[in-house]
């Protein structure tokens, strides 16, 4: 007969409530693991999922993600002319907050050369890539848009022709791919009225400075704040070309900074992502410690509650093995089922989480091992307590 089960049966409700409580605590730890890993994996997702050999950015800048970078759109032509470069394309990326799919959302707009250029959406799960020079978009599913939906950005409407899944920028915001010029337009022309206002202000200024109205019309486009800039130029090398050579050439001749994807990744990991990772790591460690303390206390209390019954068992001659089994079984059942509960909770909520959770199996396993060892350690304390209890304790009162 199993004493542990009999004891649990007597207060099933309490035991289940304990499992739910501990399980929720453990699920927070698992979610924290997921946020921690998600922070890094989101942080470098775009770098990892952009098929390019080199990132060419503004000189001295760790761009385009870890730092701002602005270069002339036309510099892609100069990059393409460097020997060893198979293809060079302009690339633009920025975060906006707009009303999309009936709600205010933050997302990142990626502009790229839609006619065979680099930097486009890697894997489209529904629909097709952008095929027109204007007014088509590929959206991430997290934006809540469907194929054929239109969205209004700046002064135009864009039609969703393709969908991606889990395409995010470094902040975990979903991506919206547009053609390079559409993206530039959205970035620099917020809306018609603002554009009109700035245009008339500029016109007034020019006329006040003594230009004729014909001259003003000619000068206006030159003053509009550089829709001819991009954030980076992506480079694909010819087979056999030496990466350091090409990089050095670009840096020397074009006075730009060049990073390989790996370097670009490290810029992020050691830059923007590091502080967040430190904070999340600290929280994670604290959470694990708090959960361990709570689990240890619960298991210890579970033993202490039974100390008189344990003394009685000793009184009727039960061996230490029986008592150890009673305590161990309960703490194993408690930790294992709490963890299972936590795991199920995380599986059910994981997709609805506002941030990307990355649950690495080995981390989940490690968390389980930590909780299990913690549970065993506290039941060991309980066992020592129980074995030291004199049987005569059962007689008092």
């Amino acid at each position: 007969m199993d004493l542990a089960i009999k004891d649990v049966q007597r207060h099933v409700g309490k035991f289940i409530a304990t499992i739910i409580g501990v399980g929720l605590l453990m699920s927070i730890v698992l979610i924290m693991n997921g946020i921690y890993q998600g922070n890094t994996s989101d942080g470098v997702w775009l770098i990892d999922n952009t098929a390019t050999d080199l990132w060419v950015v503004e000189n001295g800048r760790g761009g385009p993600f870890n730092e701002q970078s602005r270069i002339a759109e036309e510099s892609w032509r100069s990059v393409a002319a460097i020997s060893g470069v198979a293809k060079a394309s302009p690339f633009i990326s920025y975060t906006v907050q707009r009303r999309v799919a009936m709600r205010e959302q933050q997302f990142a707009i990626i502009g790229y050369d839609v006619f065979g250029g680099l930097g486009g959406p890697g894997r489209i799960v529904a629909g097709r890539p952008i095929a027109q020079a204007h007014y088509e978009a590929v959206a991430d599913m997290k934006l809540g848009l469907r194929l054929g939906d239109t969205l209004h950005l700046g002064v135009h409407d864009y039609t969703v022709v393709g969908l991606t899944r889990k395409a995010v920028d470094a902040g975990g915001n979903p991506l919206l791919y547009l053609s390079l010029h559409d993206a530039q337009e959205v970035l620099y022309d917020q809306d018609n009225r603002a554009r009109e206002r700035s245009r008339s202000a500029e016109t007034e200024r020019l006329i006040r400075s003594g230009y004729s109205s014909a001259e003003t019309q000619r000068l206006l486009p030159l003053l509009s704040d550089g829709s001819g800039t991009v954030n980076a130029v992506l480079v694909k090398l010819r087979p056999g070309a030496s990466i350091p050579r090409v990089a050095a050439d670009i840096e020397r001749w074009l006075y730009l900074s060049v990073y390989t994807s790996r370097q670009e990744r490290n810029l992020m990991l050691e830059g923007r992502l590091r502080k967040m990772a430190a904070i999340l790591g600290l929280f994670r460690a604290l959470l694990v410690i708090v959960s361990l303390v709570i689990i240890a206390l619960l298991i210890y209390v579970l033993t202490v509650e039974k100390i008189k019954a344990i003394a009685t068992l000793k009184l009727i001659g039960a061996s230490n093995g029986i008592i150890v089994r009673l305590i161990l079984e309960q703490s194993i059942v408690l930790t294992v089922s709490s963890f299972l509960f936590a795991w199920v909770v995380v599986q059910l909520t994981y997709d609805h989480f506002p941030r990307t959770l990355v649950l690495l199996p080995h981390e989940t396993l490690a968390s389980f091992v930590v909780f299990f060892i913690g549970g065993m350690a506290s039941s060991l304390v309980g066992i020592v307590h129980a074995l030291r209890t004199p049987p005569s304790l059962a007689l008092g009162g």
Binding site: K6, D7, Q9, R10, L315, G317
Partner: protein
């Protein structure tokens, strides 16, 4: 007041199931030392009914705890079933095992295991002693029947009355057919009718199964028909008539 002599002479010693010689128990040390038992000697035969009477604090429980191997005496000798168990120190036998195989207890605070029902409380004592669980449950039911409790077999101790709990505790004490039963005020929490019933039961067990029964009681009415009656005064055993003498003196 004179100390009780062992009931049996040495030639008869092999007949006795419990033999206690010069048992002493001191609690604490130095000025605070309490001599709970002073040179207690007696022996009990199979099937013998022995009662221990005495005022509060006289050492009754201490004696019972020592001879049931729950508390370690300070000095003396205990022999049970022909085996030396304590000889100015444990002799090295597995005390818990000896206890579950040979001794049954009934304590004043029934000490049932709260999460086991009446039947399982009895069966667990047998399972601990190596009886297969199914067989143990079967025998537990027979014992409950014997104790007039078969209708309460699946009740948890918390919902049993004091008398019912006491009877379950008796059932557990009988479970492994021990050769000795110790009972510390088994009737204290019961009314006279139920108390008498419990005592009748103990007498019946002693007669039918040749089990030695040593019981502590406050209630002189409960010990009618007992073979031996001892009084304990200040940790010393005194035979019944000696008490009468000392009180009239």
């Amino acid at each position: 007041m004179h100390c009780a002599r062992p009931l049996h002479s040495h030639s008869e010693a092999d007949m006795s199931i419990v033999q206690v010689e010069g048992l002493r128990k001191v609690f604490g040390q130095g000025e605070l030392a309490v001599e709970a038992l002073r040179e207690v000697s007696f022996s009990v035969e199979p099937g013998e009914l022995m009662a221990l009477l005495g005022p509060s604090g006289s050492g009754k429980s201490t004696l019972l705890l020592c001879i049931s191997l729950i508390q370690e005496p300070s000095s003396g000798r205990i022999t049970m079933n022909g085996r030396k168990i304590y000889d100015n120190g444990w002799t090295g036998i597995d005390v818990r095992r000896f206890r579950r195989e040979n001794i049954g207890f009934i304590f004043q605070a029934h000490n049932l295991i709260p999460f086991l029902n009446a039947r399982d409380n009895i069966a667990i004592a047998m399972e601990i002693n190596g009886v297969h669980w199914k067989a143990a449950r079967k025998r537990a039911l027979e014992l409950l029947d014997y104790l007039d409790l078969s209708n309460r077999s699946s009740a948890l101790p918390a919902i049993l009355s004091g008398g019912e709990q006491q009877r379950v505790a008796i059932g557990r004490a009988l479970a492994n057919s021990p050769s000795i039963i110790f009972a510390d005020e088994p009737t204290a929490s019961l009314d006279t009718v139920r108390g008498t019933k419990v005592m009748e039961l103990l007498k019946r067990i002693a007669r039918e199964q040749q089990t030695a029964v040593i019981t502590v009681t406050h209630d002189i009415r409960m010990i009618e028909g007992f073979d031996t009656i001892y009084h304990i005064v200040d940790g010393r055993l005194v035979v019944d008539d000696a008490v009468a003498e000392s009180t009239t003196a």
